[in-house]
Subunit: 226 residues, 2 copies
Amino acid sequence: MSSSKESELPITPLSTLERRANRGSHDRALIDSILDEAFLCHVGVVAQGMPRVIPFAHVRMDDHVYLHGARANFVLGALAAGAPACLTVTLLDGLVFARSAFHHSMNYRSVVLYGAGAVVEDGVEKREALDALVEHMAPGRSHEAKAPDEKELRSTLVVRFPIVEGSAKVRVGPPVDDAELVRDSPCWAGELPLALVARAPRADPLNREHPHSDAVLRVVARLAPA
Amino acid sequence: MSSSKESELPITPLSTLERRANRGSHDRALIDSILDEAFLCHVGVVAQGMPRVIPFAHVRMDDHVYLHGARANFVLGALAAGAPACLTVTLLDGLVFARSAFHHSMNYRSVVLYGAGAVVEDGVEKREALDALVEHMAPGRSHEAKAPDEKELRSTLVVRFPIVEGSAKVRVGPPVDDAELVRDSPCWAGELPLALVARAPRADPLNREHPHSDAVLRVVARLAPA
């Protein structure tokens, strides 16, 4: 997927980095890398004054994030209707243990995007987005699995969400304790890196033949525990 | 942490399970187990019609989820002001590969809670919540690290969010393809379990002594890659 022409998102009232500005960024390459690594995002919309936040599988293609689901899905329906929305992705990279309880923290990479979605009506774009959603889970998988037929296409709602306003936030590195405590405390401090890994695939007992999927094995290799 | 007196959350307009009701539940034990396993949640509030969704570390104590942060944090401030909010936790358990692209899915456990937060003003409850937040990262750690002093307590905003309205949703198991495709397709189908694991701890180079933390090593053992 090609990158955007713009290398930075604009700084707007919503995307201004007020807190911990040193951890924040509007850099598109960083934003894209976080969107591309995560398997899921959290999307928030408003219904009668109440925010509703739901997890979705997603995929980025160029300057949009694509979501899909059943037409009856409430949040997807609001997105399809063009409601203001917030799309947030968080990758948890580690736990940060300081000498003081106060400075305990987490290492993470997150993206928060603001905008309004739109239904993907065009059949070609819709098929591309659905292929890309499968490819996002496991590159190559869309060539192994049966492509959606007309009935499946009709029953699926695909929504695109623009990458136009928002920011990334990243925390890395060791804890930051007060200098005095660093000097005097005997307490162990440091990071505990966390990673999402794949376990051994579990074949569907109904499988007819085929001992494996190349696409799935590539994901297993990429997300190896060791 | 003791469990609630009520074993089910009430079914309300917001928490009625319309979609995939078979995957949904109002069972408090299930809801609590998901809240207790996750390291972070996503909280949504509304500001001038726009939803804003931000990740937070959290901890459950009895019938509330506690969040903390700096007083300048926008979403925390809205929660502190009693704004309607949605708190969502998602644990990704696996990728589900079907024979058809259409039936690809994910295995997950999620909780969506609706309600209004309140500032924890009481000093005892505030200290308990901050201890619990550290304990949630690593049981026992609050006894190793320096407890918050008065200045740190004052600069931290702690908010409690009630577990009164919402639901859990769980998907487990193999893909569900159309019977005809299961019978005829040679495509490998199955689950790829995913897990969040800990890598080797990285000691802060500034550590004065102490080769390890018992609390951190217990987390390492619990989240072992193998």
